[in-house]
Symmetry: C2
Subunit: 252 residues, 2 copies
């Protein structure tokens, strides 16, 4: 079945530029954000949310298909499958289409799909104007990334860019200060000025930022952690820095 | 095999009060923290970390067993199994044994093992003196909780307490202010005084804090989020509040 193949095969997703959204809340978020939907598939259920998704999709002119009970369980990527799924068009856009807001988040080598989705969710919530996923970061359309972003990927503009140079040129020419997160930095995120136009650059779970990136940073920040601790989860660390940027903008 | 059963069966873990630590870094962290280890199991490998774990465990007088290649893959809970595992004694302790430090984190209904482990990791890193897991929170010794805590559960004192009243009495009689995290609060975590003796209470992923808890809070804090966003991941939200408490203690 098509849903199953799209959930499992990245190459197929990339050829078709389509992916699967699992669950009512995610699909509703996509519908509200006017993401282009190819079709909605659902099983008979008492869940009012599923009913709402199907009626909203129909009203917007999208195709909806009822499938036999048990279908979702066979195709799903999770142990607790949802009773509604949608096939949607990719949502990423070109760098030149990104709005030039006050802060951007760059994922440079985040490998775990759950972490990537969580970073997208936090980026939206902390007020980031855009997000850039760079080479060697995990697939944005991996089902686990989509799930853990909790609909956020439909509400923050995202670019996927392979070339490091292209990202650097875009940020530099638009006067973004590049702020790298690094546990080796001497500068605490609480003492660092995160106001103005900044790009927060987040590296790999195990290895942090690659040297090609570190050379280009305007500054580095770390989160001061207790002596007993080794490190933080990368999505948590990124979120703390993003929300510190948000705090500084609000508290002034 | 025993490792496999201990990884999969919570009831067996609870009868024996033993659990499995997967991977060299976690085991080394446990050894450094003087957690009681029953035995270390390893496969032949070139990984220097595994060699270090085995030699450290031997020096400390723990039993080490080499197992046949492929054993770990069969028993493991993950798709990328580690080549070393250890069986260890439970590490939780009674409420009356917890140190009375300046801030405590209470998990009240966190259900996802990855979130619980991440909260433990952040609690340690933000300087929490102790952690309490309450009824209906996920199993502390679930393999995914252990993995995502990244060794932190060996370095922060943890109690598992079923009775809500017992937790409340402990905190109240020791003069902890109870701070609930809630997206419905009017008070931003950045404006709230998080100094002094506090307990940060974190609720369920979907439903937040139950009413039995909300009635007992001294105050609630929320993390101000962008209008476009619905919510944050619970481990991220908890971490932001914990690190805000840490920031206020450091910045003054």
């Amino acid at each position: 079945m098509r849903l199953r193949r799209l959930l499992r095969r990245r190459t197929l997703r990339e050829v078709e530029r389509k992916f699967v959204i699992e669950g009512g809340r995610g699909i509703l978020s996509a519908l509200n954000s006017q993401i282009e939907i190819e079709a909605v598939y659902f099983e008979q259920t008492d869940d009012a949310l599923v009913g709402k998704v199907v009626s909203t999709a129909s009203e917007l002119g999208y195709r909806t298909y009822e499938v036999a009970k048990g279908t979702m369980e066979r195709v799903a990527d999770t142990v607790t499958p949802q009773s509604v799924m949608a096939v949607a068009n990719f949502v990423d856009q070109g760098l030149d289409q990104l709005p030039l807001g006050s802060f951007v988040v760059v994922m440079a080598g985040v490998r775990d799909p759950g972490n990537a989705g969580t970073i997208i969710r936090s980026a939206l919530a902390s007020g980031a104007s855009a997000l850039i996923m760079c080479h060697q970061s995990v697939d944005l359309y991996n089902p686990k990334t989509v799930r853990s972003s909790a609909g956020a990927l439909f509400n923050v503009p995202i670019s996927i860019v392979d070339s490091f140079g292209e990202v650097y040129d875009f940020l530099h020419s638009n006067n973004y200060r590049l702020i790298g997160t690094s546990s080796h930095s001497h500068s605490s995120c609480w003492d660092c000025d995160l106001s103005g136009r900044i790009a927060i650059v987040v590296g790999n779970e195990a290895n942090g930022l690659e040297s090609i990136w570190t050379e280009m940073m305007d500054s580095f920040v770390k989160i001061p952690i207790d002596d007993r601790a080794e490190s933080l989860n990368v999505a948590v660390a990124a979120s703390i820095v993003m929300f510190e940027a948000s705090r500084q903008r609000q508290v002034g």
